[in-house]
């Protein structure tokens, strides 16, 4: 989005002719070659450093990362050389090359330092690491003085439909294999390095304008993207070969994401800050637990699970209605505090309803343990099943089930978002008084946002009770609400993709970064502050949202208007 909003005048004067590659171009190319050659050579005598980088022609994971960077650099170089003129019009290769060069150099310097520190001196480093370092430096040097080339706004470029779809499919395939690869890394250091390389590459691609192009494509082929993303999520367990560790994380991620999507209706669409949302998940979980076959369940009525799900969701929605009624009179910060107080009341009530301090419903701090696995028509979720010869374990079963729940919730979310109701919410979010003056039923819609969000959370909660095996009050503390909110803020309020990404990051990273697990909350707090400071609209921002945070940015405003006109013209054309 950066490239497309820069004024054209500044760009037009510095345009380079692509027919005759410059000195810098060859310099960068030489850097690429050196980087690849260096990465194929041994970096260090010691096998124990950085997950074995001591072999020739058999690169370790870190060397593979460098080769990937080199190949990407080559791609952008060729783009600049005029190989794919269409793409060249869209992407600003110079900025991408600069970012790639900086990433590669920073990375190689870090590697040299790590080798020096871990093997007591640079004497143990092999020539390969220096060849690669020189290569990275050459890329940086060569690309630094490359002139940016003019790009066009991706909204105005129309390619053949199958090209767009091919791009989406390729992207999703990369996501699937990248996720499987990253999760397969046991070594914490390599995982961190992988993340930093990913960060650098993403930065480079963002600088080139690739993401804004992809965003436009994604908007044009929304159905394809959603089906594809669902397919990726569906295929994920098959890459894990029955391993428990990653599937348990994946199940947690999906519950978290589902709940965050429900909260996204309240916070992202209707703009009502809810700090007690975890109570709705808790209400669903407690309903699921007390109506389960657990020996500790306090209600001795055992309806089929589908009924339990509906009851849990309805109990949650009722609570949502109760907590929603103050919105008639309260808004903004005060509403946030009301919801926070409500969340605390819920937790304290669950804590106290143990038979001593009140009626026995929840067994207080002990919670309700030993909740049996779900069973549908003889299909027990606790057993390992085999599909196409690949074992799917207990977590896998829950994963698939939750995936269906998540798909339903996403469907509900997007349909609501594009409906009259969703428009009403956005109107309330932007200016409640104006919305009311325009005839929007503000109170009804706000109430509906609360009840609807709570309904979805309750639904997820009933499944969570069975997946977690036990339900205790300390699972539903304020911090969890803050986490949910952070997932939305980090990802981008009001977007589905953003919330899914945010939820994944917030649940996945602490699990993988066990060695910083003690510091995870500290980092989380800091992260929240930094996001609000530097990118309040989140990683995947809806343009309209972005505009709310950058009101003075008139170019962005024009861009949003343009994109909006484009989108409405497109939908009218297809209708």
């Amino acid at each position: 989005m950066n490239t497309s909003t820069l004024p054209n005048g500044a760009r037009g004067t510095t345009a380079v002719t692509v027919s005759r590659p410059s000195m810098q171009w060859y310099l960068t190319l030489a850097g690429v070659v050196l980087l690849i050659v260096g990465s194929l050579l041994s970096w260090c005598y010691d096998e124990g450093v950085l997950g074995n980088v001591s072999l020739n022609v058999n690169p370790g994971p870190i060397q593979v990362f460098m080769i990937v960077i080199a190949v990407l650099t080559l791609f952008f170089l060729l783009l600049r050389g005029g190989l794919f003129p269409v793409l060249d019009r869209l992407l600003d290769s110079a900025r991408a090359l600069r970012a790639l060069g900086a990433t590669a150099t920073a990375f190689m310097v870090a590697v040299v330092i790590v080798i020096a520190l871990q093997t007591s001196g640079l004497a143990n480093a092999d020539p390969g690491v220096f060849v690669a370092l020189v290569g990275a430096a050459l890329i940086t040097w060569g690309s630094w003085s490359l002139a940016s080339d003019p790009t066009v706004d991706p909204v105005s470029v129309h390619m053949r439909g199958w090209v767009d779809i091919l791009v989406i499919v390729a992207l999703l395939a990369i996501v699937l294999f990248g996720a499987a690869y990253a999760l397969g890394q046991e070594d914490g250091t390599v995982f961190v390095l992988f993340l930093s390389v990913l960060g650098g590459v993403s930065l480079a691609l963002a600088r080139s304008g690739l993401f804004s192009w992809i965003r436009v494509i994604a908007q044009r082929h929304r159905q394809v993207l959603m089906l594809g993303a669902f397919a990726v999520a569906f295929l994920f367990p098959f890459t894990q070969n029955g391993s428990d560790a990653n599937m348990s994380i994946a199940t947690q991620v999906i519950i978290f994401a589902t709940t965050a999507l429900g909260l996204n209706i309240v916070v992202g669409l209707a703009g009502l800050l809810d700090l007690g949302y975890i109570a709705f998940l808790g209400a669903g979980a407690y309903v699921g637990a007390t109506l389960s076959y657990s020996a500790f369940a306090t209600i001795h009525w055992k309806p089929p699970f589908i009924v339990v799900m509906i009851i849990g969701a309805c109990v949650s929605a009722t609570l949502g209605l109760i907590i929603g009624t103050p919105t008639l009179r309260v808004s903004g910060d005060y509403l946030a505090i009301v919801t926070l107080a409500f969340g605390e009341i819920f937790r304290l009530a669950m804590f106290n309803l143990d038979g001593n301090n009140g009626p026995n419903l929840t067994r207080g701090p002990n919670g309700i343990p030993a909740i049996p696995d779900l069973e549908f028509f003889g299909f027990n979720f606790g057993d390992t099943h085999s599909i196409f010869g690949i074992p799917i374990n207990r977590f896998g079963n829950y994963y698939f089930f939750l995936l269906v729940v998540a798909a339903i919730i996403i469907l509900v979310f997007t349909r609501l978002n594009n409906s009259r109701i969703g428009r009403g919410w956005v109107a309330i979010r932007e200016d409640e008084k104006a919305a009311e003056a325009m005839g929007v039923n503000t109170f009804g819609l706000k109430l509906f946002a609360f009840a609807g969000g709570a309904f979805l959370a309750g639904l997820a909660g009933t499944v969570k009770a069975h997946q977690d095996v036990s339900v205790t009050p300390d699972q539903y503390v304020f911090l969890e609400s803050a986490f949910l909110l952070a997932a939305i803020v980090l990802g981008g309020m009001g977007t589905v993709a953003g919330v899914l990404i945010g939820a994944t990051i917030l649940k996945l990273l602490p699990e993988k970064l066990r060695f910083v697990s003690d510091y995870r909350l500290l980092i989380f707090g800091l992260l929240l502050v930094l996001i609000m400071r530097f990118r309040p609209e989140g990683l995947v921002a809806s343009h309209r949202r972005q505009l709310e945070f950058h009101e003075e940015d008139t170019e962005l405003a024009e861009h949003v208007e343009h994109a909006h006109l484009e989108a409405t013209a497109g939908s009218e054309g297809s209708a």
């Binding site: 703009g271 800050l273 700090l275 103050p326 009179r329 309260v330 808004s331 903004g332 910060d333 005060y334 946030a336 505090i337 009301v338 926070l340 107080a341 409500f342 605390e344 009341i345 304290l348 009530a349 804590f351 106290n352 301090n357 009140g358 009626p359 409640e432 304020f478 911090l479 803050a482 909110l485 952070a486 803020v489 003690d518 510091y519 909350l521 500290l522 989380f524 707090g525 800091l526 992260l527 929240l528 502050v529 609000m532 400071r533 309040p536 709310e548 945070f549």
Partner: protein, 313 residues
């Protein structure tokens, strides 16, 4: 009657603590219309500042003369935290949408809690707070009513702080500047008042009182941990709203009222008829406090004193 008086004394003690913290919410809200959600953490850091001063600077002496130095240590820690917080977390967001500072506040709150838990030696569990001579020890007895020495300290601290605060706000140039900014920041700026500085002063004032409250809390409970800020902060916010947020006298009154109500509710809900007594007693007192918070926010958002009506949208 003794029972009632005893609960009244307990309530005033509790209320004084709430009032000391509540002033911080109200001062900041009055000036920048921001709920400084992390203020409870400032109070917690004050308590740890006092403890740290005592164990590392004062050689763990328990004579009464260390108390002023402990208070200074507490105030230094809490004020430093508040000022840094304002500078780096809130100031960049001065013109951001309302949601942004609130989320930042949550982040700061989590960050401060974790920083104390991880970096203060031994703070992962409860830490004993020093029992200083004179302000702790055998309780006074007045008829059938027991008054703890720490309780007396808290109440006196509130009275002194409130008086000094009143003098500061009404009699000094800086204090009048605060009043001016809370009435109309733009006009105040035109009149030559440095609004940024006033905002820092507001944060610092709240933090000073919170630091004192931290010492009082330590003396009363004889131990502290990194979680005390959350609940105390929420209660104090309730107190501030109860008294009318933005109104300093209101915060003091609201704190005292909340404390007394809480003590009486704890005592007398045990005698509720129709089996409702099951929802009484100390394990439910927080529930009733939060219910009160919700009711006040919904039905009387301008608070008991009803000083200023703010558009809270």
């Amino acid at each position: 009657m003794d029972l009632f008086m005893q609960q009244l004394v307990n309530g005033v003690t509790l209320g004084s603590l709430y009032a000391l913290i509540a002033v911080g919410y109200t001062v900041v809200y009055g000036i920048v219309q921001l709920i400084n959600f992390a203020h409870g953490e400032v109070f917690m850091i004050g308590a740890f500042g006092a403890l740290g001063t005592w164990s590392y600077l004062l050689g763990e002496s328990t004579s009464i003369w260390v108390l002023p130095i402990m208070i200074i240590g507490a105030v230094a820690a809490s004020t430093g935290t508040a000022v840094i917080m304002e500078r780096f977390a809130y100031r960049p967001l001065r013109h951001a949408p309302r949601l942004a500072p609130l989320i930042t506040a949550i982040g700061v709150s989590v960050f401060l809690q974790e920083a104390v838990r991880l970096f203060y030696p031994g703070a992962k569990s409860k830490l004993p707070f020093p029992q200083i001579d004179v302000v702790t020890g055998p309780a006074f007895k007045l008829g059938g009513v027991v008054i703890q020495r720490a309780a007396l300290f808290t109440v006196i601290a509130l009275v002194i702080c409130a008086l000094l605060l009143w003098l500061f706000v009404n009699r000094t140039k800086l204090g009048r500047g605060m009043l001016a900014v809370s009435q109309d920041p733009d006009t105040a700026r035109l009149m030559g008042i440095n609004v940024d500085r006033i905002i820092v002063v507001a944060f610092a004032l709240g933090a000073i009182l919170a630091g004192v409250a931290g010492v009082a809390q330590g003396l009363q409970n004889s131990n502290i941990d990194f979680r005390i800020g959350f609940l105390a902060g929420l209660k104090a916010f309730t107190a501030a709203v109860l008294g009318g947020i933005g109104n300093i006298e209101g915060a003091v009154v609201g704190g005292l009222v909340l404390g007394v109500v809480e003590a009486l509710v704890t005592q007398y809900t045990q005698y509720l008829p129709f089996g409702l007594s099951a929802f009484g007693g100390s394990s439910w007192k927080d529930v009733w406090t939060f219910a009160l918070l919700i009711l006040v926010l919904v039905f009387r958002p301008q608070g008991l004193m009803g000083a200023r009506v703010v558009d809270r949208a």
